[in-house]
């Protein structure tokens, strides 16, 4: 076969000129953010990892529909959508960042932006977007304090909240009526009610719990304490926090035994099922509990009004879930545009079964939520100002919270409370570990 050096040289020359031309056309990414960003000069593809916020048969389809809408309105930006399972979520993102294969944008764990930023400087600050929203009035659409939730110690906005997960206590009126017990109004009455329910029928428990240590998180806050002090240091062995831990333990195996003994091994879904079957009087879950209850149960299940502590305070807990960008992205402006769109159009995700409460007033006031059983009552009762963030007394969130959210320290503590272990010893172990997480971030 003969070579054709002239044509080969021509091809190489053409390719080189073409490459130079494309580079010249590209130019630097625009620095403005949000919806007024001009369309990109070259096609952009963003990797978007979204968590499984709703049922597998409805939520991913709703999310994809929203993405199709974004792409139709923003020619030149394509979104590669991946719906991620919650299994090993911490590891998924940690390893992605550690191996430089993080997506451009993702939703994720409640404290994930703090963790990935503090540990690896991986999160794209959204300050420009926030500034724009403050200028054009969009910021006022968020419930008070919500936008500042993801503000770190350096003043950077690490994420935009798109859903809040309020911890709500529910009760079964049929179980309480059968046991002849009034609906409690204080935490002391709550413990007595649980004990009375279990004494009246050994097969029915006061509380059904399982899976996550959310009750332990919440109880300290409800007693006016919390895991952290006002300086952001661990405070699990503070007097009020210990009081809260002892409160839970008093209902466990070492006390009245009115918490289901399987709480140490079952999942949250299994705990809800126990409650659904009428085998427990109280359960803690989100405002979106209704789809997991039978029609029969829904007739009896009510929202427990917030309970007062000894100081008369009524306090609860909420988590926030956000959407965040990553510093390694080549397209920060497009990422912010997408985040802005996702936040603005979140209604479609809730229609698709996403659990949680929108932090945006225009979305949450939508009449479609009025017909969701137990939803409005839950939010009204246990949302802010009753609901507090997990970092409660501390000035802001931190990477320690992300570690706590992923590892088993607090779950081990809760299991110790349920199974009658020494509370002071278990609290000390947790205190030392959590303080270690805090110190790592300093």
């Amino acid at each position: 076969m003969r070579n054709h050096p002239r044509s080969l040289k021509a091809i190489i020359a053409f390719a080189a000129v073409g490459a130079l031309a494309l580079t010249a056309c590209g130019g630097p990414a625009p620095t403005t953010s949000g919806s007024d960003t001009p369309p990109p000069a070259e096609p952009v593809t963003l990797e978007f990892w979204d968590m499984a916020w709703g049922p597998a048969d409805t939520y991913p389809a709703a999310a994809q529909k929203l993405i199709d809408k974004f792409e139709a309105e923003n020619s030149g930006i394509k979104i590669n959508y991946t719906n991620k399972s919650w299994d090993n979520w911490y590891q998924t993102f940690a390893q992605a960042v550690g191996s430089d294969s993080a997506p451009d944008v993702s939703t994720g764990g409640g404290f994930q932006p703090f963790g990935l930023q503090q540990d690896a400087d991986a999160i794209l600050p959204l300050n420009d977007l926030i500034s724009q929203w403050q200028a054009d009035g969009t910021a006022a659409d968020f419930t008070e304090g919500m936008l500042d939730y993801y503000k770190d110690a350096q003043g950077n906005y690490l994420s935009i909240p798109w859903a809040t997960d309020i911890r709500v206590w529910f009760y079964r009126s049929d179980v309480l009526e059968k046991a002849g017990i009034e609906v409690p109004t204080t935490w002391k009455d709550f413990a007595k009610a649980c004990d009375a329910v279990h004494k009246s029928d050994k097969n029915i428990y006061g509380v059904a719990d399982g899976g996550t240590p959310h009750w332990t998180f919440q109880q300290g806050i409800s007693f006016g304490a919390g895991m952290f002090d006002k300086d952001g240091n661990a405070a699990i062995t503070s007097p009020k926090e210990l009081e809260a831990l002892n409160f839970i333990a008093s209902m466990g195996e070492g006390g009245t035994g009115c918490i289901n003994p399987t709480a140490t091994t079952i999942s949250q879904d299994e705990a809800i099922e126990l409650f659904n079957q009428g085998k427990a009087a109280f359960v803690q879950d989100s405002p979106s509990i209704a789809p997991r209850l039978s029609e029969e149960s829904l007739k009896a299940v009510k929202v427990l009004p917030p309970l007062a502590n000894d100081d008369g305070q009524k306090l609860g807990l909420y988590f926030v879930n956000g959407i965040m960008g990553y510093k390694a992205t080549k397209y920060p402006a497009e990422v912010m545009k997408f985040i802005s769109f996702w936040s603005e159009n979140g209604r479609d995700l809730f229609l698709g079964g996403a659990s949680g409460v929108s932090p945006r007033k225009t979305i949450d006031s939508d009449p479609m939520f009025d017909s969701a059983p137990l939803y409005r009552e839950s939010v009204a009762a246990w949302g802010a100002p009753v609901g507090q963030p997990l970092f409660a007394l501390a000035p802001n969130g931190s990477a320690a919270l992300n570690t706590i959210d992923g590892d088993s320290t607090m779950q081990d503590l809760e299991r110790a409370l349920f199974s009658g272990k020494n509370v002071d010893e278990a609290a000390k172990v947790a205190q030392d570990k959590v303080q270690g997480f805090v110190d790592e971030g300093k």
């Binding site: 911490y90 590891q91 940690a94 390893q95 960042v97 550690g98 963790g115 990935l116 540990d119 690896a120 991986a122 195996e253 289901n260 003994p261 399987t262 140490t264 091994t265 079952i266 999942s267 570690t403 992923g406 590892d407 088993s408 779950q411 081990d412 299991r415 110790a416 349920f418 199974s419 009658g420 270690g436 997480f437 790592e440």
Partner: protein, 301 residues
């Protein structure tokens, strides 16, 4: 004639060398890939154990043996060591005894022997998540099958996963359930390879069944048994699934694998890697001594 023979031998030698060279060349890509896939993570893990870092940001700084020092001071590490030892020893003994007993039984001519042989393999083939979930449901509360059966004998409900001792018992029983089929298959193959003449000779000399088994059959099974003990101990120490899935990551059932993983992923990559390296060294020493034991047993039998 000698010259012709020498030529023939030389040609044969050449052919052998060519065959060996071809075999090596054909195997080299696989050896290379396996080496990379196994050696690289091993070396990287060892290097991580001498560095400060997290999963999001590994290799931050060299800290010498600091991570090993921190590891040996960590009470959670020693709890994991203790549980690993109990879990491994208990699991090996129980699965071996079960496997041996069933192997001896199925070596006899009993009704439905083939069906039983197939049936006993089932625990081996059930996916771990299915098996462990089923066992957890059977054991975790008063309505589970295990507590129901215990109640027939007047035994009060045992909440297996709320107490460290009972959690260990549950984990060992389930481990034995998962592992005995492997013991059974291996020991049955061993029994079938033994010369029946020795047993017959012992019977003729008046030895009873137990004496025959203990003095004639079992010594012949020792070499294979030693290998099984070594393998099963290594597999038990490395078993992440059984304790994790059975107890939903209970602190009462955290072995060295779970400890290493949790530590490396969530807290400190260096300390987690150090734990994995220590485990590797211990298992390596164990394997060496057990192989020496096997050699001795070989000589004896």
């Amino acid at each position: 004639m000698a010259k012709k023979d020498a030529k023939a031998i030389s040609a044969s030698d050449m052919q052998t060398r060519r065959d060996r060279w071809l075999s090596l060349n054909l195997a080299l890509p696989s050896i290379f890939l396996l080496g990379v896939a196994q050696l690289y993570p091993l070396v990287q893990g060892i290097l991580y154990s001498f560095q400060r870092g997290k999963t999001t940001n590994p290799s931050q700084a060299w800290v010498g043996f600091d991570k090993y020092g921190a590891l040996f001071k960590d009470p959670d590490f020693w709890n994991a060591v203790r549980f690993s030892i109990i879990f491994a020893i208990g699991g090996v003994i129980l699965s071996y005894l079960l496997g041996l007993g069933l192997a001896l039984l199925l070596s006899q001519d009993i009704p439905m022997r083939t069906m039983l042989r197939v049936g006993f393999i089932v625990p081996w083939v059930i996916p771990p998540i299915v098996g462990m979930t089923a066992w957890r449901w059977m054991m975790q509360d008063e309505n589970g099958a295990v507590n129901q059966m215990l109640s027939w004998f007047g035994v009060d409900t045992i909440f297996f996963f709320n107490d460290p001792t009972w959690t260990a018992v549950a984990a060992i029983v389930v481990k034995a359930w998962r592992s005995f089929p492997f013991m059974l298959v291996s020991l049955m193959a061993t029994l079938q390879s033994l010369d029946p003449v020795l047993d017959e000779a012992a019977a003729i000399d008046g030895a009873g069944k137990w004496k025959t088994f203990w003095n004639v059959t079992f010594p012949q099974m020792l070499p294979m048994s030693s290998i099984l003990w070594v393998l099963m101990t290594i597999w038990s120490v490395n078993d992440y699934e059984t304790p994790y899935l059975l107890t939903n990551n209970s602190p009462n059932a955290r072995n060295l694998m779970i400890f290493s993983f949790d530590e490396a992923i969530y807290r400190d990559l260096g300390t987690g890697s150090a734990a994995a390296v220590v485990t590797l060294i211990v298992l390596g020493i164990l394997a060496y001594f057990m192989l020496k034991l096997q050699k001795k047993a070989d000589e004896l039998s």
